[in-house]
Amino acid sequence: MGKFVQLVVDGLSTGSVYAALALAIVLVHQATGLINFAQGGMAVLSAYAVWWLTNRGLPLVAAILVAIVLSVVFGALVERWLMRRFERGDPDTAVVVTIGLLTLITGFAGWLWTYNNQQFPSLFPLDTVSFLGVSVSVRSLGTTAVIVVAMLLLQGLFVGTKLGLALRAVAINPQSAAFCGLPVGRLLMVGWGLAAALGAVAAVLVAPQLTLTPGMLDNALVYALAAVILGGLTSPIGVVIAAWIIGILENLAAVYVPFIGFDLKVAVPFILIFVVLIVRPQGLFGRKTVVRV
């Protein structure tokens, strides 16, 4: 029993890593209608900025704040000078452009900071908290807490604010949005900037555990995408819960389903997606879209 609960708690903290990246992907998707494969790469760049600043003596929190500001600017610039050209065209092309951006950023980081694993300072101590025979690190708890806060803020942004409504309107139909007086270009830049800031937070949270390398978030990206689809593209809360479900089920399946084992546990989120989407095409928590002929 103790093992079972411990596996669930482990799964939650792994799921939080996926959730962090997934939230940023959802934000860009809600604001531009695109899946941004470069989200992880941009986040890694932010983490390198933090690392570089702390190495120059800046306190960690200050470095994070500076990096978040830089990330907003970078995200907005990427939208304005790169993505703008592709947003109206074939969505496949736009996605491939984000793949190109990911390659470029990874190569750039490798060139500037080498492919060495860099130790990254943690916001939270590595102390262990034990309860009911389960141990969990303060770092995992802190990470999870920050993600929950980010999730609630994001949900609030989309559901409760005029800006959130405007971002969604622009993603759905930029022309109609413009007819209503929405400054489409500026809103797209804001969407990318906010997503980049969220990505920066995500990277800062997970970098101490994964150690900083140019490809740090590459393996997490697939899981994050899975969480995004499973949770439903429109719901930040749904996506975070989906990420946790994936983290937990993966662990349980690996340990308790001998056929799956640790080598094939990566199949779990996809089986889950498949089953869920057959039943609920809009994802676990997504809003249903009725398309009429």
Binding site: D92, V96, V97, L102, L104, V184, L264, F270, T289
Partner: protein, 385 residues
């Protein structure tokens, strides 16, 4: 891959334009004078003959390195072609094409190592991936848009550990070698020449058959399904069946590319089908030109040549250079390399008109600044109307 509202995809306006133009999006590029030249019978028959003759001679006169490179281009051009059938022509995002290449390569390697007849091996290399693709498609084609993308992503991601687990067939992480393509005795050919001939012949047949397919009845049905599934249904075309068909054909072609992979590379391991390569195939398809036969060739060339070129420039900057090159190409040619002649033609035609710095006048959407797009919004409407 894009938002749920946009998944009904870019060319939804196909129902406005006629279906036949969508099935051959490479048309309309050439000027009328050029096409009348091409209608002359001696050009019509002579050009393909010349091409075949050229390809027949090419392996004999090129260097070994050039032959190897061209053969590898052939391998990945076929893989990209398969992806184009399901994605470029039918509009279903597939991120799993490399899995079928890998599966084909394993079948070939295993068959050769077991000493089976090579023709049987080739047939199995077509059949097994096609059946695997059919099974996946029967399930996945019920889903649309991003969901199908996620299910297909799973193929390489689960395929790699699966290949390791089935080490009795796959050689585990050490992979399988199979050197079975040696130039026949007495042919006077070197191995690289023989390999290239095999790639040219097999690849050529696949390209020919695929181009007939997409220009024919099935191709039109694919285009209609891509354009708007509701319209397709109303015309009595079952989107489900055609999606399954396209996916199965793509898997079969992927299997053939796996056979060619073994002809050229002669070794396969789980890394062959890693997720990253699947993404690279997608990149190659878009860079070459989605929904285009020539684009598939160009995409294969891009897939193979760019790593070599960036290696030649600076091997420690390959990722940086490849990313930059990809972005540069798409920035100039959002329609892929295949749109280069069209873009050049437009530039030529435009410059004497002296319209200077005007934005590309392809769509009425080129208002600077906020840039709204009339055509895109039409897409929206039809997705929701």
């Amino acid at each position: 891959m894009a938002s749920s509202p946009k998944t009904s995809s870019p060319k939804t306006s196909a129902s406005k334009t006629s279906a036949s133009t969508t099935s051959a999006p490479t048309s309309s590029a050439t000027t009328s004078s050029a096409s009348s030249f091409r209608q002359r019978p001696w050009v019509r028959w002579g050009a393909p003959l010349l091409l075949v003759a050229g390809l027949a001679v090419l392996p004999l006169v090129m260097t070994e390195g050039a032959n190897d490179t061209l053969a590898r281009i052939g391998v990945f051009a076929v893989a990209v072609l398969g992806l184009n059938v399901v994605m470029g022509y039918t509009g279903q995002v597939s991120l799993g094409q490399i899995f079928f290449l890998g599966l084909g390569a394993y079948v070939t390697a295993y068959g050769v190592q077991s000493g089976w007849n090579i023709v049987l091996v080739f047939v199995l290399t077509c059949l097994i991936p096609a059946v695997a693709g059919l099974v996946v498609a029967l399930a996945a084609a019920r889903l649309g848009g991003l969901a199908i993308a996620m299910v297909t992503i799973a193929l390489p991601i689960v395929g790699v550990p699966l290949a390791k687990r089935l080490s009795d067939f796959t050689g585990g992480s050490q992979g399988l070698s199979a050197r079975f393509v040696e130039a026949p005795e007495g042919s006077g050919l070197y191995d690289d020449q023989w390999q290239l001939y095999l790639v040219l012949v097999i690849g050529g047949i696949v390209f020919l058959m695929t181009s007939l397919l997409v220009r024919g009845k099935y191709g039109r049905a694919f285009a209609i399904v891509k354009g708007n599934e509701n319209v397709a249904s109303s015309m009595g075309i079952s989107p489900y069946r055609y999606k399954v068909l396209a996916f199965t054909i793509a898997s079969l072609i992927g299997g053939v590319s796996g056979f060619l992979y073994m002809v050229v590379v002669q070794y396969t391991s789980p890394e062959t089908m890693s997720f990253g390569h699947s993404i690279e195939l997608l990149v190659a398809m878009v860079i070459g030109g989605a929904g285009s036969i020539v684009g598939s060739l160009l995409g294969g060339a891009f897939y193979v040549i760019v790593p070599d070129v960036t290696n030649a420039i600076d091997p420690s900057l390959t990722a940086l250079l490849q990313g930059a090159l990809l972005l540069a190409v798409l920035f100039v040619l959002p329609g892929g390399l295949v749109s280069l002649p069209r873009a050049l033609m437009r530039r030529l035609r435009r410059s004497p008109a002296g319209r200077g710095s005007a934005a590309p006048p392809t769509t009425p959407s080129s208002t600077p600044g906020s840039g709204t797009a009339a055509e895109q919004s039409e897409t929206e409407r039809q997705g929701h109307a």
